[in-house]
């Protein structure tokens, strides 16, 4: 009896609380929808205003304060740089910006929360690869539609950025952010030591055979393995496999951070397969098993704590697998840590002509749907990307304090004191080829390769395609699990019998719903035409 009473009271209290809560939480929802309405109304009003009177500029008589979210942390001199920027912004567009930072280790938690909580801010860095993707944000209505404003408010910015980049930022035909104007290529390759190659009288690495020769020599003669890495190398070896195989090209569907889907060629972009079901994959699995037993990587690679790059930089790995900018960016560290050692890079995708131009949408600046001043935010972005003085400030800092330019190369000044002068912003999305200056810590070959690849690079056929994964989220989670277990083991040759393991891997993928995922990708691709087909 007593218990019944207790339960009754409890239920009463709970319903009361739930009811009040529904009231509470209901309200902000309404608010946010109304504010969304007003903001979209506001923008459309603005655009109609502006289009009816094309010559009139945005009214900047009222000073505004813009909040800009970036990844990274605040250096001691960041305030000083920002002051310089704000002096100019105040004079030019009557606005000031305040940068807020999400530090690297917190990105995974805080970045999604920024949008989930409906926080008030103006601009933020975004990417199609971020924890919460640019396209998801656009689909959810977290971003301001800037398509019309581009013509009316910032025509100069619109002209500055290539058409393909704008196209890559489209979601259902509308643009929600300003993509980078910086040409990037991030194909993967094997970084190795030239001095060791010469020591053993080997040829330059440009194929599996020459790579095996180098790895054999290291594994036999040196005290460290040729790829002294950790479990993240499973994914690196998978990338290597995809890049080296025919005309395969990575396709949307399964996140690219795991063993993903491929299209058989850029032209047949809608012919989607999972590599696991091919003969090539089986052969690769056998080869990886062989490499593992030959000691190309440590026995405990699955649990190793340090990655191959860290080990390489400390002289205990024969090489590491990474993308080109990471290799060339490591130049300064190698020079400092291992004087006299030169590195070379075998790019996997080059031979089969599969160097892809990086999409603009992979580094993009967005304007929040909650921003009260989207025009002013856009104007600020325009300043940063189209005027050299602004560009130098946000990308390099204050001349003479954070950088100086000698013979066209930027470097830290003599009197640079990291405790006071260190500073800068991770505003990659605002970069522009036109104003870029090479750094002395970068391998000069970066720019040679960019020049070379610009001529031969292909466009990603999926520019402008955004995959909606909501209907297959449980299949994707199940596949992620299969990949992280058997997938990783196969790539690092950690199974007893590679052929049997591949068989088992296929079965598990099927059970996890790989067919449904492929169907869904194909279905969504039906309504999509790549922009550069036929170009």
């Amino acid at each position: 009896m007593n218990n019944y009473k207790k339960m009754l009271i409890l239920i009463l209290v709970m319903t009361f609380i739930v009811a009040t809560l529904a009231g509470c939480t209901g309200k902000p929802n309404n608010e946010s929808t109304t504010s969304e309405n007003t903001s979209s109304d506001g923008t459309s009003k603005n655009s109609t205003n502006a289009s009816s009177d094309n010559t009139s500029k945005v009214d900047t008589s009222k000073e505004v304060h813009l909040i800009y979210y970036l990844w990274g942390s605040e250096g001691p001199a960041n305030r000083d740089i920002l002051n310089e920027i704000n002096k100019k912004l105040k004079a030019d567009i009557n606005a000031t910006i305040e940068v807020k930072y999400i530090d690297w280790p917190d990105v995974a938690t805080k970045y999604p929360l920024l949008f989930a909580s409906g926080e008030q801010f103006d601009m933020a860095h975004a990417s199609s690869n971020a924890v919460i993707s640019y396209f998801t944000l656009a689909a959810q209505g977290s971003l301001t539609d800037i398509t019309d404003m581009l013509d009316t408010v910032v025509p100069k910015l619109k002209a500055e950025i290539p058409k393909e980049s704008w196209k890559s930022a489209e979601y259902k035909g509308r643009i929600y952010g300003v993509p980078t104007a910086y040409t990037e290529f991030t194909p993967y390759g094997y970084v190795y030591r030239r001095d060791l190659k010469e020591k053993y009288g080997l040829d330059e690495i440009n194929s599996i055979e020459t790579m095996e020769a180098y790895m054999d020599a290291i594994a036999k003669n040196e005290s460290f393995p040729p790829l002294n890495g950790n479990s993240s190398d499973a994914q690196n070896l998978y990338r290597m496999f995809v890049d080296l195989t025919g005309s395969w090209i990575e396709a949307p569907g399964i996140p690219l951070s795991e063993m993903h889907l491929v299209a058989v060629s850029p032209e047949k972009y809608d012919d989607i397969i999972h590599p696991a079901f091919t003969k090539e994959f089986e052969d690769w699995a056998v080869m990886m098993h062989e490499w593992s037993s030959k000691g190309y990587w440590p026995k405990d690679i699955l649990s190793a704590q340090q990655n191959a790059k860290t080990n390489f930089n400390n002289g205990i790995s024969g090489g590491f697998i990474t993308h080109m900018p990471d290799w060339t960016g490591n130049y300064g560290t190698v020079k400092k840590n291992m004087p006299g050692v030169e590195t070379d890079f075998w790019c996997f995708a080059e031979k089969n002509g599969k160097i892809k131009r990086k999409l603009g949408v992979e580094n993009i600046t967005i304007i929040s749907a909650n921003s009260k001043n989207p025009e002013r935010a856009l104007m600020a972005i325009e300043k940063f990307m189209t005027e050299e003085e602004y560009y130098r400030l946000i990308q390099y800092g204050i001349e003479g304090r954070q950088y100086e330019i000698v013979d066209g190369i930027a470097r830290k000044p003599e009197k640079f004191n990291p405790d006071v002068d260190a500073g800068g912003f991770a505003a990659w999305a605002l970069r522009n080829d036109r104003f870029n200056i090479p750094y002395d810590t970068e391998d000069p070959r970066r720019y040679e390769l960019i020049k070379k690849w610009s001529k031969v690079a292909i466009d990603n056929p999926y520019v402008g395609f955004s995959f909606d994964s909501t209907s297959i989220s449980s299949e994707l989670a199940a596949i992620a699990n299969v990949n992280s277990q058997l997938g990783v083991q196969i790539m690092l040759g950690k199974t007893a019998d590679p052929k049997k393991a591949v068989e088992e891997y296929r079965n598990q993928l099927k059970q996890a719903g790989i067919e449904k995922v492929i169907e869904e990708v194909k279905r969504q691709l039906k309504d999509f035409t790549p922009i550069n087909i036929g170009n």
């Binding site: 690297w104 991770a426 990659w428």
Partner: protein, 302 residues
Amino acid sequence: MFYKTKNNVIRQGLSDNLLKIICYTSVGLFALICLFPFALMITSSFMSEKEIVTEGYKLFPKKFTVSAYKFLLSNPQKLVNAYKITIFNTVVGTTVGLFLMSMAGYVLNRKDFKYRNFFAFFIYFTTLFSGGLIPRYILMVKYLGLKDNILAMILPNVISAWYIFLMRNFMKSIPDSLYESATIDGAGVFRIYWQIVLPLSIPALATVGLFLALGFWNEWYNAMLYIESPSKFPLQYFLQKTINQTNVQILINQGVMIDISELPTQSIKMATAVVATGPIIFLYPFVQRYFIKGLTIGAIKG
């Protein structure tokens, strides 16, 4: 007891000695196992980066270097500031928490409080079900306006169901007769709590207070979520940031360019850990003096 033989006393002494030997050795051995990683942490903080990467952590490094500490202390302002914030959070949070929770534990232990079981359940229920990260974040930021507010690091941890139950559990050992005699003497419920129960609960307050203080000292998660100004960062948030670099690797793999020469090295990680945990360790020996034997008896007699 007059019949206790001499023989018996000797046997009593022998087995007691055996027990003593067992106690000393097993406690001593376990303490050594617990000390080992900490010692490793301290010695590694004096190792050179190259030696750590190539040869692993060592109890006896080949070469001692203080470069990690030099790096940490080159700009002591930040560190001093973080210490201030952490000490403030710990002192305020522990004091307020102890007061509120000892009251709650006292009320839940009063047999004449009819709804004590209901409220016990009301409190316990929150340890099982929670609304999750998003509703909590929205509550803290939108409705309570606690973004970038020091209170955001104190409030979420100031009261915990577990400590209330622990308090109640300790207070159970105070005999009911004490309440009765005090009530007859005309003392109100609050006065009984303040003048009788609290002084008798010193070991309980010391225990829960120690737990609370350790919790506030180690707190970094709420700081990560809600605090923006570097001037309000607590100590452990620094530690967490330097030690946990897994996300950085994921970002680099995505093509993000981060200058890794600016990332903390292994020895800096260890030095940060030493600096951040060092002082709080001395709190425990200090608290131990409040684990006083026989408080209850004296009170009843007096």
